[in-house]
Symmetry: C2
Subunit: 168 residues, 2 copies
Amino acid sequence: MSDAVDAIIGQWVKERPDVAQDLWPVQLFARVQRLARVVEKSAKAAAAAHGVEYGEFDVLTTLQRSGPPYALTAGALLKASMVTSGAITNRIDRMEAKNLVERVRDGEDRRTIKIRLTDHGHDVTRAAFTDHLANYARLLADMDRDLITKTGDGLRQLLEALGDTGIE
Amino acid sequence: MSDAVDAIIGQWVKERPDVAQDLWPVQLFARVQRLARVVEKSAKAAAAAHGVEYGEFDVLTTLQRSGPPYALTAGALLKASMVTSGAITNRIDRMEAKNLVERVRDGEDRRTIKIRLTDHGHDVTRAAFTDHLANYARLLADMDRDLITKTGDGLRQLLEALGDTGIE
DNA sequence: TGCTTTTATCTCAACGTTGAGATTATCAAG
DNA sequence: CTTGATAATCTCAACGTTGAGATAAAAGCA
């Protein structure tokens, strides 16, 4: 059996035999990259069905899983999202206009603001996340559960080694 | 041992116990997504050191690994790149301005154009790809080789099941 | 030959992200 | 207090991508 990445590596071995022994990370990282794109494309469609961009969906779920009172600072959302500060500001602006979240000034530190899920934001998040999980399950419908677990465990060890250990 | 994704799943189990049994795909897909971002960020920096955007680097390597005569149609690059047509046109425009590639009309079919690596494009690609592999190796420096192989194999099976089997 | 359909590429406005810098507030030291 | 340093958020122009539509050529078919 072979996939697109096997074909790509085969091309490199032919064209760049001088680096053939350095291609071993490619079989992992190229697959991670391709799988991420396939899954993200599917997830975007699932989010769009609920009227939100994928980046907005990310903010919604981060707030919901943080638990009561469903409010985090812009800085916390920034760290959780792996994007830059301008992107977070824009996302919050758009989501505020859609009445999904609201900006609340923090009494303690007036530099910080908290982003809080509105009731409407809660409803959208619950529905969208449920659909999101159904979509995930559909993608993996025919796969062996044990393989999924083992592969996920391997990725966890990689992420730990790369320092991706906390969500703050 | 635990990583950021374990923490995220822990939050969901608490906040949405009603979907706790549907979270199993998350431990895989969330890791794929996070790892892809970490690796891509690193790869972008490696490409930038050679004066090219990551998307441009993708076009360069696709052309180089295709072998002589190092020329593909815009359509072939489109399929290989997993982006939309406008993005490919823009990338080629920018790369042509940088003298990395040149557009060549195909004698047979005047609708198609071939994108061909220039000599300069060849040089940049060789150097950038060598650095790219060194960067990959650095990221995996402390990892067990067998784990990397097994995890990559798991991802291959997933990609095959999702139909990502050819590069055309 | 003419007509329609299909194929390949490009156009362009809307969109989201980047990232350096600006703004405003807090903290630490004297 | 006042000054300087630090911290949190926002601003904004530049950038790359999206995706529907336009353009143009080729292929299929009467």
